[in-house]
């Protein structure tokens, strides 16, 4: 997995309430948090984690820090991410909501140029059950296993992880790409990562209305993914053009390359069905669909 348990991790914005709350929880899960960064708070500690004013001051930087979790004020997040990239960090988990879209455009360009993986913003980040927590996923709902769970929401992700866990199905990873309109990494990128991951046998993709991420994911699955995928889409009955919370969940077609129906639940379900991906009607149906696919998958046939 691309997030090994030995990863050296820092938290930028560790003195924000969000950082203060989750730093001790990530540490308690076994994540190697080597430092926190918060301009002006250098010299202090949070939960025994030393704080520095800048990333470059962290002694461990010379041995290589792989990942940063960013909990800063949203207007400071781009700067924090660029500082991390400059210091050689190549995995960035953005938790904070409210990062301006043009800041994300700038960050996406920099990330592509430096081959940096950006997860989020406005999402709970990444958990590898039993190994490492990089964000705010509640670990109790997860257990180690072979389902790769990719979503673009928060508590609905935990709901589905818990549903799988209670059915005895563990997860190889839980990742939310984030709830905003412009995110650092996309469903196709994550499908490719899980396609190459040895731990993952089945992929569960949880989408929602708005934007065209699910349509693009469905297209990518039919082109490039051999592992079985199951999808679930939230928002079939959400009122059109009204805001529930996610900027990306507003159905709109202002730009000219969106057809009128792209973004609706019907369009997304149709796209997955065309790609041969079973779509669950409700979260509680997902474990049954996973069981069916696991029985059919070649590695299980060899084992039996």
């Amino acid at each position: 997995m691309i997030f090994p348990p030995t990863s050296q991790v820092i938290i930028q914005g560790i003195t924000e309430p969000l950082g203060m709350t989750y730093a001790p929880l990530m540490k308690a899960y076994g994540t190697h948090i080597v430092a926190g960064v918060s301009p002006g708070a250098g010299g202090g500690t949070v939960a025994g984690i030393p704080i520095y004013d800048m990333v470059e001051q962290i002694p461990a930087i010379s041995r290589g820090i792989s990942t940063t979790v960013i909990c800063t004020h949203p207007y400071a997040a781009l700067d924090a991410a660029l500082e991390a990239i400059r210091a050689g960090i190549r995995q960035i988990i953005l938790i904070s909501q409210g990062i301006p879209p043009l800041d994300m455009v700038h960050l996406v360009r920099q990330a592509e140029a430096t081959e940096t993986l950006v997860v989020g913003p406005n999402g709970p980040g990444v958990i590898v059950p039993g190994q490492i927590s990089l964000g705010i996923h509640p670990p109790d709902f997860y257990m180690p296993g072979n389902v790769g769970l990719i979503t673009r929401n928060g508590p609905l992700t935990y709901e589905i992880a818990r549903t799988l866990t209670r059915a005895g199905i563990g997860q190889s990873i839980g990742v939310s790409i984030g709830c905003d309109a412009i995110v650092g990494s996309t469903f196709p990128q994550w499908l490719q990562i899980l396609e190459e991951d040895d731990q993952t046998e089945v992929i569960v993709l949880v989408g929602e209305i708005g934007g065209d991420s699910e349509e693009r994911a469905a297209h990518y699955i039919s082109e490039a993914i051999d592992k079985p995928v199951i999808a679930y889409i939230a928002g079939h009955t959400a009122p059109r053009n009204r805001r529930i919370g996610h900027a990306g969940a507003i159905i709109e077609s202002r730009t000219f390359d969106f057809g009128p129906d792209i973004g609706t639940a019907e369009s997304k379900v149709a796209a997955f069905k065309r790609a041969g991906v079973p779509v669950a009607e409700r979260p509680s149906q997902i474990p049954d669909l996973v069981h069916k696919l696991l029985k059919r998958s070649p590695s299980n046939l060899q084992a039996s």
């Binding site: 043009l102 913003p121 508590p155 935990y158 209305i209 919370g245 509680s284």
Partner: protein
């Protein structure tokens, strides 16, 4: 946040996009102090498009005509919206009209430049001829020239139009705009270009770092970033069910399940904000209390379903919040009944029934806490929806 035309043009003027001399008119008598020579165009300043076809734009030759026309426009709603002001502008004789826009394509995560050689009121012909350039790397003026050439422009006109596109891009970049649109960008017989109309949409989440734009907002900015996002309840026209969840995805999934079982939600509320940088574990319970108070104002409501997948907030903390909420909504009432003395009873004055679905830490303790109350606690999502539906049916009979 959308800007009015005159506000958009003030921005255009500051970055050197050519606009006509103009003057804002707040009441018809302002026209007596008009500094622009006649003939002038009077334009209704409304947020909605299509005012030209509805009589919101008039040409006038003198002050008497202008005052009369202004009175008419001030009293003319455009799709229900009355003008905030009028814009009096010099007249321009266009021989050609283009459409130009700069916006973000969320899907490819890049800004795009859009242009059509058929601008003006005929939107469909503009769309048919629409050209696009994706700003893949850091912006440089060559992207603007690419678009102008794709639009079929040549020579001096190509250079002049691409200079406008370049300024539109920098304006978007500098001010965190979601959209900058000029329709039409007009050309006169001398080859001079002019932005005759402008539409600018500011990114709401970025207003906090643009106080100059925030001050143009009609209402005070409701969501300063340092505070938790304000609760926004969504109302349907009909129904007896209220739904409170944390997170937009969970709210939508819960709504879907309720509709699948034949339920009719009257209103729903997403109280989640766990990725806010100021979030604390106590935030969820505070927002739950606020949310219940909001829903309590809906007299039509019979049952509220609360579905929280709180992660690190324990079931017990949420249960205690609910108990406190009901206690705060309990009143001592005098009751009189025949043959008996006056007595005082405590009654909960929060009328909707509450079903709460919680998972995670301290579920058993939460059960204990809620055991003496009217609140139903469940752990399974499907079961809680079934319970909701059976309560709704009972409340009807």
């Amino acid at each position: 946040m959308d800007l009015l035309e005159y506000q958009a043009k003030e921005l255009f003027r500051t970055v050197g996009i050519p606009v006509l001399p103009s003057q804002r008119i707040d009441r018809p008598k302002d026209l007596r102090n008009l500094t622009i020579p006649y003939p002038v165009v009077l334009k209704s300043q409304v947020y909605i498009g299509g005012r030209g076809r509805m009589g919101g734009v008039r040409f006038v030759e003198n002050t008497i005509d202008a005052v009369a026309a202004a009175q008419t426009i001030f009293n003319l709603p455009i799709m229900g919206e009355y003008p905030k002001a009028l814009l009096a502008e010099a007249k321009f004789d266009a021989v050609q009209e283009f459409y130009l826009a700069v916006t973000l394509n969320r899907s490819i995560r890049r800004p795009v430049l859009l242009g059509s050689c058929k601008g003006g009121m005929e939107v469909q012909s503009a769309i048919d001829q629409m050209q696009q350039v994706v700003v893949d790397g850091d912006f440089s003026p060559f992207y603007a020239r690419q678009l102008a050439l794709k639009m079929g422009l040549q020579g001096d006109l190509m250079n002049a139009v691409s200079a406008v596109i370049e300024k539109m891009y920098w304006l978007m970049d500098d001010k965190d705009l979601d959209l900058v649109e000029i329709n039409p960008l007009a050309v006169d017989s001398a080859g001079q270009i002019m932005a005759l109309d402008g539409k600018v949409t500011v990114n709401d989440g970025s207003l906090g770092r643009h106080p100059d734009l925030a001050s143009l907002s009609e209402s005070p900015i409701i969501n300063p970033l340092d505070l938790q996002p304000e609760l926004q309840m969504t109302m349907e026209t009909d129904g007896t069910i209220g739904i409170i969840c944390n997170g937009a995805g969970l709210t939508m999934a819960t709504l879907d399940l309720v509709y699948q079982m034949g339920g009719k939600p009257l209103c729903f509320l997403n109280i989640g904000s766990e990725t806010h940088h100021q979030w604390l574990p106590s935030t969820l319970c505070q927002r739950l209390e606020q949310g219940l108070a909001r829903m309590g104002q809906q007299s039509q409501l019979k049952v509220i379903l609360i579905n929280l997948v709180g992660g690190i907030v324990s079931c017990q903390e949420i249960a205690q919040t609910l108990v406190q909420f009901l206690q705060a909504h309990t009143r001592n009432m005098r009751t009189y009944s025949r043959g008996q003395e006056e007595s005082i009873v405590s009654r909960v004055v929060f009328t909707p029934q509450i079903i709460v679905r919680l998972v995670g830490k301290d579920y058993e303790a939460a059960k204990e806490t809620l055991s003496g109350t009217s609140i139903v606690l469940l752990e399974d999502l499907d079961e809680s929806i079934r319970e909701l539906m059976s309560r709704v049916k009972r409340s009807k009979s």
